[in-house]
């Protein structure tokens, strides 16, 4: 063997001897492959300072990002009862329990009322880490109630989507949530209460094909994957590689399905300005 090949270490160093722990301090940007210090990243709203790549953020971080401070959470305890008694590799009930522990949420959406630049708004944010942000009966009901709350009190509604679509483990029950939410949005539309849909990476399937595309404004973060069918499904159908940038926010903007692509740092002020126009300045 070559003289420069590395010798195997005889034994791993005992854990106590390590003086510097670097795991978790750095993150590689999928956009530009730069190594970023995680603290810088956090301070920059989880956007790469070098190339502007928008990292995925969890629902709670999103709520903090958009609201002024205090907020009231709704339907906090709502959780699924497994309508199909679905079992795949393991029972759906178990999967739910694992997810609840991991994400510290009971299902894939958080529904809150708070202030955005001083204006009271209802905000729902989907949590991608909870079974892919998928929509089952709990997501469907919590969002529908948020819409009804907006309707009754004439408070603007903002929904931030990050989801793979309807939840397979709840079968046709999930599917019908698309119709339920869209019907509720019909009432909000008739009452002329503003609804702003924010699409983040990724938003696909039954979520895009229902409430995410029905905003008075549909806005998206840069580079987010947005579509009906996922790219892998399309590639299997047409048996070709998809072009770069296909189904990204900029692509949808170009094809006329988004009002704007808005950077994370400008999202809050963008929404505030839009609501000033729709509802009148505060």
């Amino acid at each position: 063997m070559a003289w420069f090949s590395r010798k195997k270490p005889t034994a791993p160093p005992p854990p106590g001897e390590r003086t510097v722990r670097t795991e978790g301090l750095w993150e590689k940007c999928p956009g530009c492959s730069q190594i970023l210090w995680r603290k810088t990243l956090q301070e920059n709203l989880h956007v790469c300072p070098k190339c502007g790549y928008h990292f995925k953020i969890d629902a709670l971080t999103r709520v903090k990002l958009l609201l002024d401070g205090e907020w009231e959470e709704h339907d906090r305890w709502m959780r699924s009862l497994d309508p199909l008694e679905f079992t795949d590799a393991r029972p759906y009930k178990q999967r739910l329990a694992t997810m609840q522990e991991k994400t510290k949420m009971l299902d894939a959406v958080i529904s809150v009322t708070g202030k955005l630049h001083g204006r009271v708004v209802n905000l729902c944010v989907l949590e991608l880490n909870f079974i892919g942000g998928s929509m089952g009966c709990v997501v469907g009901e919590k969002i529908t109630r948020a819409i009804e709350r907006s309707l009754a009190q004439r408070i603007p509604l903002i929904i931030v989507s990050a989801s793979g679509g309807a939840r397979m483990q709840e079968g046709a029950v999930s599917l019908m949530q698309m119709a339920k939410i869209s019907a509720a949005l019909m009432r909000l539309d008739e009452a002329a209460v503003p609804y702003i849909s924010v699409l983040t990476d990724p938003t696909t399937g039954g979520v895009t094909a229902s409430f995410a595309m029905l905003g008075d404004l549909n806005i998206a973060e840069p580079g987010a994957l947005i579509g009906f069918a996922g790219p892998r499904v399309i590639e299997q159908t047409i048996r070709q590689k998809l072009p770069e940038g296909f189904q990204r926010s900029e692509f949808l903007l170009q094809h006329g399905f988004l009002d704007a692509v808005v950077k994370r740092s400008e999202l809050k002020s963008y929404i505030a300005k839009a609501l000033n126009v729709f509802c009148g300045p505060l």
Binding site: C137, G140, G171, M176, A209, L214, T237, H255
Partner: protein, 287 residues
């Protein structure tokens, strides 16, 4: 048809859900136009969405059902290879959903009831469909069907393929034929996700609870329309007769409602779907 093998002979086993999947996709199963031919007098097809083009995967038109003027919309699969390609295997593109919407608005304007026949593996997952806003087209229909001021009766006659079917499926009454299926995902895709093996579709079919009886039990449809003993493919006329009976009754009931009541009834019907959660507080929940 008597020399045709019995369906149970071709799909052995006791997995009833999988048998129904096979029947719903049976190559000889009556398609939308087979029913329209038998149920609608003076049918005239209406083409195009006035935006982009005409989608052969959705047929829409007008005619008389038992002497009542109606508008009818159906997802259409092909029978032979040439037809299958022409109908895109029954997978609609955005222009199909927009055509359906246009015809529904016509129905509303002239106060005619709408009948929709759902039969699709799903909305077409292709580059052109995405470019023209497949998701937006379906979402739009979901919201606009909810406020249509005229009766809507929907029937899943074969495959109710997820959002692709639901895109014409928001009605005052929703029925399924006895051997139809209605699912959020195809058993093959479901198996591919769970077990990374599409061949396990049989197991997925059972897990997904996608038969008419399952959906009725879950409170998602209003009724199951019987089929001839061997399945709808064995006797088109008999299958159409069963469908006629149900449509007639539904349209009669809905004719008594005002436009406002129709919108209200449809809203309440979907509002109640999916009541499978609990809200009991968890005192031990640490977060």
């Amino acid at each position: 048809m008597s020399d045709q093998p019995n369906h149970t002979a071709t799909v052995p086993g006791d997995n009833l859900a999988w048998q129904r999947v096979q029947l719903a996709r049976h190559p000889k199963r009556p398609h939308a136009l087979d029913y329209i031919q038998r149920l609608i007098r003076d049918f005239q097809e209406l083409h195009g969405d006035r935006r982009f083009g005409d989608d052969p995967a959705i047929v829409a038109g007008m005619g008389f059902f038992e002497d009542r003027p109606v508008m009818i919309i159906g997802q259409q699969k092909g029978r032979d290879t040439k037809q299958k390609l022409y109908r895109n295997f029954g997978m609609p593109k955005p222009e199909g959903y927009r055509k359906a919407y246009r015809v529904m608005k016509l129905a509303e304007k002239f106060r005619r009831p709408v009948i929709t026949l759902m039969d699709t593996p799903g909305a077409y997952p292709g580059v052109d469909a995405e470019e023209r806003g497949q998701a937006e087209a379906i979402a739009w229909n979901l919201r606009e069907m909810a406020r249509l001021r005229t009766p809507i009766v929907c029937v899943v006659i074969g495959e109710g393929g997820s959002g692709g079917a639901l895109g014409i499926g928001v009605g005052n009454r929703v029925y399924m034929m006895e051997n139809a299926i209605y699912s959020v995902i195809s058993p093959e895709s479901c198996a591919a996700i769970i077990w990374r093996d599409a061949a396990l579709a049989e197991r997925a079919a059972a897990a997904l609870k996608l038969t008419a009886q399952d959906l009725l039990r879950l409170g998602l449809i209003d009724g199951v329309i019987p089929e001839p003993p061997e399945g709808a493919h064995a006797d088109y006329d008999q299958a159409a007769a069963f469908l006629r009976e149900t449509l007639l009754q539904a349209l009669d009931e809905l004719a008594r409602l005002s436009p406002e009541e129709l919108v209200e009834q449809r809203y309440e019907k979907f509002r109640k779907m999916g009541n499978f959660f609990t809200e009991e507080p968890l005192p031990d929940w640490p977060f």
